[in-house]
Point group: C2
Chain length 327, copies 2
DNA sequence: ATGAAAGCGCTAACAT
DNA sequence: ATGTTAGCGCTTTCAT
């Protein structure tokens, strides 16, 4: 139905090989015939079938991205960075939401592989790395790390330390950490780093577990005020949770930051816009996405990577949920 | 490199046709040989090459989704709905962010088409409908409408009316509408419907233009308080903008909802969690995504659609940014 | 500089 | 019930 390379060949009065040559600017082709072919392509509005190309070359223009949940505001920023870079280079992004479930993660990876994706960006763990290795396709881990693969991530340890340090500087006696799932490595790391700093400074610290969603934050907030009513500082595992707690605190009539300070993690765009503004640790998500795409394409194009791990610094963004004047 | 159907055939001591038959459960194949083939497949860990399949059948397992910006919290919910449905049916989602730019929209559509996507879900306008029609591939519009294609969308007119009606019921004298880009149809419709109701009720109404982002909302808020300081009710084009305004109002010391009421649009999950909670018009984004995927697959499977347009009702979600007690 | 033809991995006639 | 083979649309030797 669609117009194929044969049609173009016929229209231009040449062979398909010649058309292919001009398409790929490979081999020799006379200027005149080249022009004739181009003309025919224009006239027929021909677009090469990427599937046929992919089959022959065993290389597609698809990149697979598997992430936990696009609904968590941290990830759209990441994904957007990836997508923007890919778009410029003519690649397409296939997305899979794994919900951190190993089974889904692997199904996505296998599905992507079957479709000749040329590269994988992975923002989730428990991946079937064996399958990836045997497929020998470039991979970059995003927001996660392993020694075995190139990775782009933000410095979680620095982030955790920063949060703890800042909250200590601003004064606190009893801090409650809302810890995310310990199975998620970056989330665990930021927790651990913060916890250690707090302990080293002889602070009383409580731990409450939560998921990474607003909804979980809301539930957790109730638990927080019941179990640890004397908390005067909270370090949340991410911004959605922090915002939920902020909200609940105000509902309960607490003054923020006077009665209680809060620091989040991620710096999603919402955080600047809630009231009071949320102090948080900024992760440069968009830039990380960009970089991940960049080094993935480098690998795809056989370029050597200057390094394997790209650790982005994080920074403390101070808004109204902490006391600016240091104590 | 990878194991192909030939390898399986050899391993099982049959022809490739037989293997293909068991793979597709088409044609006759003896139970015993069937088992032998299955065994071989297991042993070799064979996975069919979807690209080759796609080339022959001219059908892939890919669905293209083009949306304005995954970074706008309304769209991840939509995308997640689409993806969840697709995943269950073994399809994969390719995503493109168009930023409402016609050029990007079309590049995506063409790119997707070249890769044999079997269906398209489109949440943006200015699409090259001609290309889609000649490609003869199923399409569903999501959050947008045209008579020519199946569409899944929420009732914007009802939404606009609802917002206006509720704000009137709750009492107001001068309402300012933050109107989104008039080029985006659903956004324009909700504006228009609200405006008409307000006018019919002889309210004084001001209009300010904004984009659909938090950042734009923040700028707009400043304009709002300068130009229309007597505003006692605002209807925002979407929740991010509404939240930005809420925030700015509080910063300026206004009591919400006493001094000023605000109603948003979308009901993104953040809206329940800011303080005061944002009253808004709920669009069932996730369900809409699910439905769009469902009717797309129906078309792909040659099933007849019982109807072309799936209009979802919206609802008013009342939180603290409006005065509950009717006046 | 150009063409003929093989082949990428698969499916679907068509034979047997 | 199973095998042989053509062909999906393209790229790439290998001839010429």
């Amino acid at each position: 139905m669609a117009v194929t390379i044969r049609d173009v060949a016929k229209e231009a009065g040449v062979s398909v090989a010649t058309v292919s040559r001009v398409l790929n600017s490979s081999g020799y082709v006379h200027e005149d015939t080249r022009d004739a072919v181009m003309d025919a392509i224009k006239r027929l509005n021909y677009k090469p079938n990427e599937v046929a190309r992919s089959l022959y070359k065993k290389k597609s223009k698809f990149i697979g991205l598997v992430l936990p949940d696009i609904t968590n505001p941290f990830f759209p920023a990441l994904a957007r960075g990836v997508e923007d870079f890919l778009y410029r280079e003519g690649y397409h992004l296939i997305i899979g939401n794994s919900d951190e479930q190993m089974e889904k993660e692997n199904e996505y990876v296998h599905g992507f592989l079957q479709n000749n994706v040329v590269g994988l960006i992975i923002s989730t763990h428990d991946i079937d790395f064996h399958a990836i290795k045997t497929a020998k396709i470039p991979v970059v881990l995003l927001d996660r790390t392993t020694d075995e693969f190139p990775a782009v991530y933000a410095d979680q340890i620095q982030g955790g330390k920063l949060a703890a340090t800042k909250i200590i500087e601003r004064g606190c006696h009893e801090v409650t950490i809302i810890r995310g799932p310990v199975t998620i490595k970056p989330v665990y790391e930021r927790f651990r780093a913060a916890y250690d700093v707090l302990k080293k400074n002889n602070k009383k610290v409580n731990i409450i577990d939560a998921q990474l969603t607003f909804e979980s934050g809301q539930k957790t907030a109730k638990e927080l005020f019941e179990k640890y009513p004397n908390t005067d500082a909270v370090l949340a595992c991410n911004d959605p949770v922090a915002i939920a707690i902020l909200n609940e605190a105000i509902k309960q009539g607490r003054q923020i930051p006077e009665d209680m300070q809060i620091i989040g993690f991620d710096n999603i765009s919402m955080s600047s816009v809630v009231h009071p503004g949320l102090s948080t640790i900024n992760q440069p998500a968009y830039e990380m996405g960009l970089k991940a795409a960049e080094i993935l394409l480098k690998q795809i194009n056989q370029e050597k990577l200057t390094k394997i791990h790209y650790k982005f610094p994080v920074s403390f963004i101070e808004r109204e949920s902490t006391r600016k004047e240091e104590k």
